[in-house]
């Protein structure tokens, strides 16, 4: 590679970096904080060891139920284990369940929503009816039905939460397709003599799929809340695992004596769900052109 080439590459990298910097600078402070929180959680899931202050499984009978302090940021539990390290340790499992449930949920939703939205007519009517039926089940009840039949494992949790939240997204995707199909630019493309397949590929699909990123971030937060709800009821993953919902369930029995056991894992869930919502709303505003990008 000649030196001019290298200079060009270097300049290109620099330009991209400054583009990223410019993008970050356009973020409102609240959104920037939310994005940072999500990055932290992802880091905790990827490499918990780097963030933990203690071994999350080591019991210390001389330091049980300690309130939050500098030594133990979130306090300790009834066996003297460091709660902060346990929350960090549980991040991976909670996020995995959340990602799995969101993935399943959106896959089902895409299959149903896209089919209904593109096909229309009788197919759309049938799918819409089916969604209406799924809607009639309270989210958590449907999940409980699955847990009853298939026993509580992380996989059941993923399936239960995934199926429970799918109809909402399916309805959103279907509505998105129906509205894009009616858009003026779709008709304009038709008058240019493009085939239906080309119009779907060029216009309908990419435009209808624009809110998908928003749905993913929003769904992540929601499914983690639901999954920990099940764990909270003692129907989730087995107790020794420090999944967030399981921590809440364990803390419930000591709540009058040690509030931190309940408050801290809950704050972790809220912090994640809230950040996901804030980021997704910002993305939505950008997509709808309410905020000028760049």
């Amino acid at each position: 590679m000649s030196s001019t080439d290298q200079a060009l590459v270097f300049r290109a990298v620099e330009r991209r970096r400054s583009a990223v910097a410019a993008f970050v600078r356009t973020l409102p402070p609240g959104v920037a904080v939310a994005a940072l929180v999500i990055v932290l959680f992802v880091a905790a899931a990827a490499a918990p060891g780097h963030l933990q202050t203690h071994n999350p499984f080591r019991t210390d009978l001389y330091a049980t139920l300690q309130p939050p302090s500098l030594a133990h940021l979130f306090g300790t539990d009834q066996s003297g284990r460091d709660l902060f390290s346990r929350v960090v340790e549980g991040t991976r499992q909670s996020l995995t369940i959340g990602i799995g449930a969101t993935g399943l949920s959106l896959s089902i939703a895409l299959l149903l929503g896209v089919t209904a939205g593109l096909a229309g007519g009788a197919v759309d009517a049938a799918i819409s009816r089916f969604l209406e039926v799924l809607f009639a089940f309270p989210n958590l009840f449907l999940a409980l039905l699955f847990v009853t039949v298939f026993a509580a494992t992380p996989a059941t949790l993923v399936i239960a939460v995934g199926i429970g939240t799918a109809p909402g997204y399916a309805r959103m995707i279907r509505g998105q397709f129906l509205s894009v199909k009616r858009a003026g630019y779709v008709e304009a493309a038709r008058t240019l003599g493009h085939s239906y397949g080309r119009v779907v590929r060029q216009h309908i699909f990419p435009n209808a799929m624009r809110p998908l990123v928003v749905m993913i971030t929003l769904g992540l937060g929601q499914s983690i809340v639901w999954a920990s709800g099940l764990a909270f009821l003692g129907l989730g993953v087995a107790p020794p695992s420090p999944e967030w919902g399981a921590l809440l369930d364990a803390g419930r029995h000591y709540v009058t004596r040690a509030w931190w056991l309940e408050v801290m894992p809950g704050l972790a869930i809220i912090a994640f769900a809230l950040s996901a919502t804030v980021v997704s709303r910002h993305l939505q505003d950008r997509l709808e052109g309410r905020v000028h990008a760049g």
């Binding site: 409980l144 929601q222 809340v225 909270f232 009821l233 809220i270 809230l274 804030v278």
Partner: protein, 327 residues
């Protein structure tokens, strides 16, 4: 302007309206049937021998029953029949409210639900009302106003909307019942015992409802008819209450039908947290003991309530939105 020619005769409006209501009713029945069928299908996927499981659930221990004992139980409950026969029997019993007998207590599921449903309905209904009150008060006073306070309240609404009700419930319990001793810790002690659980359910819902109402409220505030009302001499508060609120409430009303489902879900956890009687707590207990008839019974019954609530919202909608009546 010349009207387009009308080439077909119109049915009288009352007949069209009755037909629409009937169609809607029929649709609701069809959805209910589909819900019951779906539930049946899922529970039929249960692995293992029914009678064995039933005996285990009833005794609470793992027992090794003999082949003959199991066969007798299977014959008594019809588990030995083909699935289609079981399905027909299940569907045929539904209109009577017959969901079979609990594995654990051997009592009819219908009676167990009937005993426990009142507190749950009371809890969810008061939570729904409370959520609306909070959402409306907050929206009317702050939406569409410039400044930090309004933005802050908007942020709080987003935060409460994502907060899990079980967590809020526990926090409320610790702060108001255990520390401050303002409310009873647990059990159904009438109205005071209802406050904390209802608040725990209402707070996230009010955040969610509030966001929807708030967005619509801000949009409607900029509509020309609001300006016109101001030009007639109406004050800002008057405009908000008499014109904007009604428009902004419309999407909230549609959501309220859906919210019934979310409230039932929340009630299951909240009833457990506060040790309140109700079908939610009953369902959670039934789930951990795998009491299949009780689980399916409660789920089908609450789906029925959801369908009914949405039917009522649909039928009541024209009262709030007269444009639908005019059509």
């Amino acid at each position: 302007m010349s009207e387009p020619a009308i080439t077909a005769r119109q049915a009288p409006p009352w007949r069209r309206r009755t037909a629409a209501v009937l169609r809607r009713l029929l649709g609701a029945v069809a959805v209910f049937w589909a819900v019951a069928t779906f539930t049946f299908c899922v529970q039929s996927l249960l692995p293992g021998d029914r009678a064995e499981m039933m005996l285990n659930v009833a005794s609470g221990t793992l027992v090794q029953a003999s082949k003959a004992e199991l066969a007798a139980v299977n014959a008594r409950y019809g588990f030995d029949q083909p699935l289609s026969v079981q399905y027909l029997r299940y569907i045929e019993a539904l209109p009577r409210g017959d969901f079979g007998v609990s594995y654990q207590t051997h009592r009819p599921v219908r009676d167990m639900i009937a005993e426990q449903i009142r507190p749950t309905i009371l809890l969810t209904a008061s939570a729904l009302v409370l959520a609306w009150v909070i959402a409306i008060v907050v929206t009317v006073t702050t939406a569409g106003r410039p400044g930090r306070l309004s933005r802050f309240i908007g942020g709080v609404q987003v935060a409460t909307a994502v907060a899990p009700p079980y967590w809020i419930g526990t926090i409320l319990l610790v702060v108001f019942a255990v520390r401050l001793r303002l409310f009873p810790v647990e059990g159904d002690n009438g109205l005071p015992g209802l406050v904390l659980p209802a608040a725990a359910l209402a707070i996230p819902l009010s955040g969610f409802l509030g966001q929807v109402i708030r967005e619509e409220f801000s949009r409607v505030l900029e509509q020309p008819f609001v300006t016109t009302a101001r030009m007639r001499g109406m004050g800002d508060t008057g405009v908000r209450l008499r014109h904007v609120l009604r428009h902004a409430a419309l999407p909230g009303v549609t959501l309220s039908g859906w919210a019934v489902g979310a409230l039932f879900s929340g009630a299951a956890v909240i009833e457990t947290v506060f040790a309140r009687p109700g079908i939610g707590g009953l369902l959670v207990a039934a789930t951990s003991s795998r009491d299949i008839p009780l689980v399916t019974g409660i789920i089908v019954a609450s789906a029925g309530i959801y369908i009914l609530a949405n039917l009522l919202v649909d039928l009541a909608y024209p009262i709030i939105d007269p444009r639908l009546r005019a059509r």
